[in-house]
Each structure stands twice: as C-alpha cells, then as structure tokens.
Symmetry: C2
Subunit: 336 residues, 2 copies
Amino acid sequence: MKTRQILLDHGSGGRLSHELITGLMLPAFDNAPLSELHDGARLDIAGMRLAFSTDSYVVDPIFFPGGDIGVLSVNGTVNDLAMCGAAPLFLSAGLIIEEGFCLDDLDRIIASMTSAAKNAGVTIVTGDTKVVPAGTADKIFINTSGIGLIPEGIIISGDRAQPGDKVIISGPIADHGVTILVQRKGMEFESDITSDTTPLNHMVGGMLSSCPDIHVLRDPTRGGVGTSLNEIAERSRVGIKLYEDKIPIRAETAGICELLGLDPLYIANEGKLLAFVRPEHVNRVLSVMKKHHAGKDACLIGEVISDSHAKVIMRTRIGGTRIVDMPAGEQLPRIC
Amino acid sequence: MKTRQILLDHGSGGRLSHELITGLMLPAFDNAPLSELHDGARLDIAGMRLAFSTDSYVVDPIFFPGGDIGVLSVNGTVNDLAMCGAAPLFLSAGLIIEEGFCLDDLDRIIASMTSAAKNAGVTIVTGDTKVVPAGTADKIFINTSGIGLIPEGIIISGDRAQPGDKVIISGPIADHGVTILVQRKGMEFESDITSDTTPLNHMVGGMLSSCPDIHVLRDPTRGGVGTSLNEIAERSRVGIKLYEDKIPIRAETAGICELLGLDPLYIANEGKLLAFVRPEHVNRVLSVMKKHHAGKDACLIGEVISDSHAKVIMRTRIGGTRIVDMPAGEQLPRIC
C-alpha cells in the first residue's frame, strides 16, 4: 500500500487544502470560531470582540519587485484581521532562519517589517527566532499572528452572502502571483509588474464607517479570486455569477498568464479584497474605496444568486457561461 | 570581507540570540511590550489586560519519549502565557510541512495538539498550513501563538526581582534537552528519561490565587535555567545566588550530562518554571505547587541579592563559588 503523503497541493489553497482542513483539522480541533473557516477567528473575551489570525510566509524568492517576505508577512496578517472587520492592533513575529543566512538580508527584512507595521498602524509586540542547521529550511520563513478589535455592530462572515448581493473587487487581479512567477523563472522578457502587497485595513475602516452592513470581506490570496469565491459560495450556500469582462486585470499580467497557460482567477493577490454588499450600498462603498490608493480601481464584478449547489459561474467575454470550480491542483508553490 | 551570517548560536537562546534581539529587533520594532523581553507581551486593549505570545517549534526528532512536536507546540505557548500571569484562552497554529511528509504522522501530531489543548483548557481557533517542496524544510515546523487574560492586580515581569526574593524551581531540570539529545544521537545505553513537557497554567493559576504578589515567573526552556536567570538578573539589575546542592536533577539526567560534558544548567526544560517570591510567601507558594503534578518536586534553589553587575553566582557542592554566565554558544540546535 502506498504511504499517504503530504503533496504540494495540500498547501495550494485549493481542493486538497480544503480537504486537509475540513477532514483532519476541523474534526480534531472542533470549535465554532475555527469552523467558520474565515481568514481569522472572531473571539469574545470578557465581552470584547477580538479577531485573531495567523499566517506563515514561505515565499520564494524572498525579495521581489514591490516587496519582500517581511512586508508580505505584515500586510498579510493585517489584511486577514481587516477581513474580519477588525481594526488590527498587535502582531507577533516568529522567524525560522537557516544557518548561514546573510545578516544584511535579515536587516533588510526587519526594516521592511518595521515600515510595513508603521504603514498599517500596528505594533509588533512579541517575537521568536529559531535558527536551524543549513539545509533544513530554505533561507527564512516568517509567521505573523495578529490581534484586532472588531467594532460594535460589525458582523463580517463567509456565510453571510445573500442572493442579490453585489460582488466588488478592489482592483486588478493576479499581480502578486505573476510577479513571483516571473522572478522565479528568471524570465528574460521585460516586465514592469510588481506585487500588489499593501495593507487594506485603512480602506476597510472607511468602508465600514460608511456602510456597517457589509456581508463578506475576503482577500483572495493563495488560490486567487476563484478559490475565495468558491469558499464563500459553499459557506453561504449560494451561487455566484461573475462577468468576465468586468474583472480588472492589467494587460501585461493577462499576457503573461496567457503565455504560461495560467488562469488569472486562481493566481494569488496580496493587496486586493472582495466585498459582498447589498445592491443599495454598492455606490456608497465603491465611492469610499476609490478614495483610497488600495481601491482606486475598485469595481463590480458579479452578484450572488440562489443556487443550492453553491456554484460559481462566469459569463464569458464571448457570451458563454463557464463554471469557475475550486482548483484541484497547485499552480504555484511558495507564492506567499 | 567576510559576509555577516546567521549562525546556529543566534538561535540558541544564549548570548548571540540576545545580541540579535537587542541589537536588531528591538531598535527596529521599538515598543514597550516588546522591550520587556518577556515570554509574551502584556497588552492593554480597551481596558482589558491581555498576554500575547508566539513560538515556533522546530524540534528534531519530531516524536520523542514523553511527547512530540505537537504537544510541545501547545504546552510551550500555554506556558509562555502563564509566565505573564495570564490564563491562556486561545491558540493559533501555523504549520509548515515538507512535501512528502507522512500523513499518518500529521494525524498523530494533530491528535497530540488536540489532546494537549484539552489538558491545558485552551482552544485552537485559527490556523494556516503551508506545504513547501521536498528539501526546503525538514519534515514539519509548527508556530503557535496565544492569547490569555491577565487577572486584575497581577503584575509579573522580568524586571521585578528584588533583593531578598527567594527563587523557586518547580522540579528537576534538564530532562527535555537530554531526552532529545539521547534520541538524536541514537545512544545505545538504556535510558528512561522522558521530556518534561506539560502545561503549567493550572498550577500558576493556583499559585497566583494563593499569592497574587509573585514578582517573576519564567519557564527555562531554550538556554535552560542558567540563561533564564541571567536574563532576569539583567532586567532587574540584581544579582542571583544559587545553591548547587539544592537544584533538583534526576541522577540519570545528571549522569548523561556528565558523560557528554554538558552543563544541565543550560539544558532546555519544557515543563518547569522559576518563581521569584518574597521570603514571607515562600511556604504558601511551595505548598500550592506541591499539590500539582507539575510542581510536586518544587523547592527553593536560591535568592536575589544586590549586585549592580547583575551576576548569577552559584555556591558549589564543595563550598566554592562560580559565576553562572550567559552561555556564549549553542549546545543543542533544534531542541524545541
């Protein structure tokens, strides 16, 4: 009998990841906040509503156009907290470093984390550093966990999408994943694409002030927009209908995806969000988003429909309809 | 010029770790909770006092007598929170898994974490799983972060040791480190030593109920009792005097340390604590500790003295005095 093994796909954010989490972790750890399967847990401590989130960053290469593993590790957890509707406050940083790693690179990464924390308005209050022998880790891995405070009256959850809700995206997709891929492949062609990594909490704060009744927020990182929408559809037991011609993507990003046979719907973003809002709130929310740098290209890309099979479908540019399924395999390991 | 590189010693918990943290991290991240250099940060959120802690576990081997990386990762963060005087409530789990890792081993580790969380009375509410290509990590690394609630009136801090305070240890030292070492070396001799990993929060809860004015709590993990005491002496600007004949150690553990030329004072523990209390509180605290399994061998091992040079000294068995310095080098990488 073949030994059951962990595959790269188990970390893809796609179907196998989902099976690992729902098949192994959820039944074992068995509790309500975890079973929400959100970017972070919503907790009640002595009557106060907190969000708590964790993420490990293993991106390769560690430095790339538009950012590095340090800024990614801060923005990523800041955004996970913001997707719970929380104002991020405090971060932890756990570093696993390979023996022989260049101290100047560590200096650069720590400086990036410091500046990213300042931009986001959070404080890195506790940390841990482990060094492992050369060859037992690749350069550096960073875990950040974070705590945020959820304002009263805010209920953001993956199970709140309702038929009629409009789906907003904050800007063009797939830039982070394509940036990493271009770097890794050492592609020769000219490319100005940079990672979109950025903190979304200030924009989310503005959106929630203007419209407290946002139903779902999600940053489509690993697995991209396609995976995030499938997760939301499943949790809310609704269908989602997308309009391909509305989904923003830079021409250069789209070109590289086409060249490599990659579907940009499944490519990671690190500074984008999906928002599900009632139709009557769309204009208000969009106008707040457009005032922020992180949302200046925000637009409507779809809507929620009734569908007990929880499918995501897309009206294509040429007028057909295709199913946007949960991806089965890993497209890009170590993308974040 | 030689490139500045990360050495194993930077992760030892000893002098180079200390230099990395105080020389690079502290000036960069620059904030009060971090600069306390405690096992966790003490935070004030909307008038509520929380403890927040993080630790990455990279122990090798991942299964060992008395525990595994899963139970270690839960107990370790539970204990870090308890050392802040907090009641641990919620944990996150961030897994970095090597492609090809055996799923049955993952099952075992998740089951260990589940049972450890139950024993400690905490809930694992959020998580993240990354899979990296074979050869870019060694089997599995686990980060846990945790949140705990600090009861009113409790102020535990590394800078509160005062001349006259008595130093208590909760039981025999060096069992965890020696267990790992014996496993790793594949030593042939018979050994019944097992890791001491255990949650300390229930005992700490009892200690604080009986004596809220405990000055310092610290679990002497990486770097052992010798390193922890040096950190406390430095933070509090006091001297610490130890009595070698009072420090509990199992004969077998001591024997292996002697055989290998290791000083048990610098060997990691995973289920022990040091408590600094006023002389008039010693008996009360000891009697509570002895009622708990984790503290049944608790005893006095030293006292705090005035010393502006913040030295830790030890009265040896034969009546001499030696300085117990901060260790310069790494004795055992990947010990936790």
